[in-house]
Amino acid sequence: MSLSAVIVAAAAAAEDAAAESGGLPQLDMSTWPSQLFWLAVTFGILYWLMAGRFLPAIGGAIEERRGRIADDLDQASEFRGQAEAAEDAYNQSLADAKAKAQGIAADTRAEVDAEIAEMQAETDAKLQGQLEAAEARIGEMKEEATAKVEEAAADATRAIVERLIDEAPTDDAVARAMTNIAR
C-alpha cells in the first residue's frame, strides 16, 4: 500500500517534469554564444591571473619555505658541529690543565720532599753534634768524679792507716792497697 503510494507520487512528479520540459535547455543553441562568450571571459581572466600572479606567488612561498627549512637545518647542523668542536676543545683544555696541575703538584711535592730531607739531615747533624758534645762532657765529668772518689778514698785510707799505726803510709802503698781491694 505504502510502496504503491510512493510509486504513484513518483509517477505524478515525473509526469509534471515531462509536461513542463519542452526539450533540453542544454540543446537550445540560441544560448550557446552567450555561454561561450562568458566562459571565455571568466576562464581567460582566471587563467591570466593564475598564471601571472597567484600561482607564482604560492609556488614562491612554498619554495621559500622549503629553502628556509633547508637553510635552518644546515645552520642547525653547523651549530651542532661548532658545539661539538667547542666541547672537544673544552675537554682538551681540561685534560691539559689536569696534566699541568698534576705536574705542578709532583714538582712541588719533590721540592718539598727535598727541602724536608735537607732540613732533617741538618737537624740530625746538629743533634748528633750536641749529643756527642754532651756525651764527651758526661765522660769527662765521670772521669773527674772517679778521680775525686779515688782521691777521697786514698785520703780516707791514709787517714785510717795513720790513726791505726800512727805512721803515714806512702802514696804508693795506699795506691797498691786500693788497687788490690778494688780487684
Binding site: 512528479a13 555561454q35 561561450l36 562568450f37
Partner: protein, 263 residues
C-alpha cells in the same frame, strides 16, 4: 491538490536573460549562467587574492588551503605528464578550480521565493560549457603534440611494436578513440552534473508532493527526504570527482601529446 507544487526538474537548467547584450549580431547577453560564471570566478579570484596578499613563511588558513590545492594539482601534473608538464600547470590548475567551484557552487540551495534570475545555476550542467572546455583541452593537445613531435605525433595512432597487418584494424580504432575524447570528456561532466541535479530535484519534488498529499503519504515523505540528503552528499563527492577526472584526463591527453614520438 498539489498546494506545495515544486518547479519542474528542468527549470533549474533554463537560461534566463538578465541584461541584453550583443557584440555585432552575436548575442552575448548576461544570463543567469553568465552571472554564476562571474560569481564562481570572482570567488576564486577573491580567495587567491586573499591567499597571496601576504605570502608568508608560516601560512594562515587561507594560504594553507591555496597551497594544498597548488600541491595537489602540481603533483597531479608532475606525476601524469612528467617534467614537461610544468608549462601546463596553470592551465590544468585553472581548469580544475573553475570546474570544481562551478560544480560546488551549483550545490548552493536556492532561497525560496527568489526570481528565476537569482536561482542557483550550475554552469557545468550545460553542454556548451563542458564541450568548450574539452575542445580547448584537445586543441592544446593537438597543437602541442605537433609542435613537440612534428609529424611523429601521428605515431599516437600507429603504436610501434605491432605486426603491420594489425595497423589496418588498429589505426581506425586509435583514431576513433582519439576523436571521441573531447566528446566523452564534455559529456561525462555535463551528464554527471545534469543527472545529479535532476535526481536531487526529483527527490525534493517527491517530498513536497507527498507532504502536500496529507495523511499517511505525508509520513511517507520522509523516505525521499532521506534520499535527497544521501544524494546531496553524493553530489558533493561527484562535484569534486568530476573536476578531478576532467583535470586528470586533460593531463593524460597532454602526456600522450608530450610523449607521442616515444610510442
Amino acid at each position: 491538490m498539489n498546494t506545495f507544487r515544486a518547479a519542474g526538474p528542468m527549470d533549474q537548467f533554463e537560461i534566463v536573460r538578465i541584461v541584453d547584450l550583443s557584440v555585432g549580431s552575436i548575442d552575448v547577453s548576461l544570463t543567469n549562467s553568465a552571472l554564476w560564471m562571474l560569481i564562481c570566478t570572482g570567488a576564486i579570484i577573491a580567495f587567491f587574492f586573499t591567499a597571496t596578499r601576504r605570502a608568508a613563511i608560516i601560512p594562515n588558513r587561507v594560504q594553507s588551503t591555496a597551497e594544498v590545492l597548488y600541491e595537489f594539482v602540481s603533483d597531479l601534473v608532475r606525476d601524469t605528464i612528467g617534467p614537461e608538464g610544468r608549462k601546463f600547470f596553470p592551465y590544468v590548475f585553472t581548469l580544475f578550480l573553475w570546474i570544481l567551484i562551478a560544480n560546488l557552487f551549483g550545490m548552493i540551495p536556492t532561497l525560496p521565493g527568489l526570481p528565476h534570475e537569482a536561482h542557483t545555476f550550475t554552469t557545468t550542467s550545460h553542454l556548451a560549457v563542458t564541450l568548450a572546455l574539452s575542445m580547448l583541452t584537445i586543441t592544446i593537445v593537438i597543437v602541442y603534440g605537433f609542435w613537440k613531435n612534428g609529424i611523429k605525433f601521428l605515431k599516437l595512432f600507429a603504436p610501434s611494436g605491432v605486426p603491420p597487418a594489425m595497423y589496418i584494424l588498429l589505426v581506425p580504432i586509435e583514431l576513433v578513440s582519439f576523436l571521441s575524447r573531447p566528446l566523452s570528456l564534455a559529456i561525462r561532466l555535463f551528464a554527471n552534473m545534469f543527472a545529479g541535479h535532476i535526481i536531487l530535484k526529483l527527490f525534493a519534488g517527491f517530498v513536497v508532493s507527498l507532504v502536500g498529499a496529507g495523511g499517511v503519504l505525508s509520513v511517507m515523505g520522509l523516505l525521499p527526504f532521506i534520499g535527497a540528503i544521501a544524494v546531496t552528499a553524493l553530489e558533493f563527492l561527484v562535484a569534486f570527482l568530476q573536476a578531478y577526472v576532467f583535470a586528470i584526463l586533460t593531463c593524460i591527453y597532454l602526456s600522450d601529446a608530450a610523449h607521442a614520438a616515444d610510442h
